[in-house]
Symmetry: C2
Subunit: 208 residues, 2 copies
DNA sequence: TAGATTGTTAATCGATTAACAATC
DNA sequence: TAGATTGTTAATCGATTAACAATC
């Protein structure tokens, strides 16, 4: 879509901009300058302008940025204007929590299936979706156009399952398993390593 | 502890090193060179050596690094040799999932209390711990030396609860609420914004 | 028009990589 | 000793910040 590659640093900041702009919009704020936004978010105004300009000019000299427009544009950049079909692999504590908690639908993420190896859990309804055995994954991927597989399974099975899913045509993974997936470069992976995060906090506590 | 400030970039990589070294140790590998580790982890050998040298020399010329020793040293840097007492605020889907799933105790994170406003959930046992009403938090913080509060509550209450807990003496937060906590600089906060993470994945999918 | 604020270029800062002397 | 590999300095690269001309 864009000519030059956007850096990971910039992309990582987009959801936070999106959140603040959404709040401003809900408060009825119509326009905001990079300087005011910088005070609110505790980043430099320069960075804000640089970040937005990676995607073209969203502002207007002497005026600032229109909150509604900017919010919507960042949403588009993040692909939130499109629907994404996802499946959850692993209906344990975390898988169920995500299904219930995330309110995926609100942002256009539609759960099309939940799968688990555990026969005790199979048949259970989560958010109106029946937990199915793993051998039903392929049929689901074939039937719906699945964009994202959420991996909430133990690390031992995660690598194998991910490889299988790539074979089925799944192109993106939201990986909660505590392992690095080594997949073809075209496959997108976003890792959420919760223990890593907790260890960082532990480090912060320890060193003072 | 250290003379010069360690950059966030370095700290962010430590848990991953720790994970790989733990696996190598479990496989019975005794020593490893920065070059071999670099192939395994897909980072440069130079970066590995620079990172470790922030904390002093863990290796030996001509030999490499002793896996067991390095693993243990990184564990110490991350504060994993110490016990941390934590409380979970919010026993909804995510709070329960974390309590059950994380296997906190294994790394020295001891759950000392779980709290929720919802009377339906109060009294319920999670991992042998009874969910208590919010007004019992202070007594818990006073009785045990609570290092970390895990916030798995909606964003509307998170800011207020965090401020209250800071008043009780809590020094660190593992924040799953979708909001930035504005707390005194001495208070450590590690945010896990799951929606931000999913949006990043959405971005990756959208742009090709 | 004058004031405000962007878009964008230039300067700075920090992080990563390369190179190599030190040394096991 | 010779070979291997670290620790560390120097070079490069990229990201952030500052500055200012363009322009609404």
């Amino acid at each position: 879509m864009e000519a030059k590659e956007i850096s990971q640093a910039v992309i990582g900041r987009l959801p936070r901009y999106y959140r603040y702009l959404g709040e401003l919009r809900d408060e009825g704020v119509e326009r905001i300058s990079s300087q005011d936004l910088s005070k609110l978010m505790a980043v430099t105004a320069s960075q804000i302008r640089q970040d937005f300009n990676n995607f073209g000019g969203f502002g207007q000299q002497g005026y600032g940025y229109n909150v509604e427009f900017l919010y919507s544009e960042i949403g588009k950049i993040l692909g939130l204007d499109q629907q994404h079909h996802l499946i959850i692999i692993g209906a344990g504590n975390l898988g169920q929590a995500l299904a219930n908690y995330m309110n995926f639908e609100r942002r256009g993420f539609i759960i099309k299936g939940i799968f688990d190896t555990n026969e005790q859990i199979q048949g259970k309804q989560i958010r109106g979706i029946t937990v199915q055995p793993m051998d039903r994954i392929k049929a689901c991927v074939d039937e719906y156009n699945i964009d994202i597989a959420v991996l909430t399974i133990p690390k031992d099975s995660a690598v194998e399952v991910a490889n299988t899913l790539v074979g089925y045509g799944v192109k993106a993974f939201w990986n909660f398993a505590h392992v690095d997936l080594h997949l073809p470069k075209s496959i997108k992976v976003e890792n959420v390593h919760l223990s890593d995060s907790l260890m960082k906090l532990s480090y912060m506590i320890s060193c003072d």
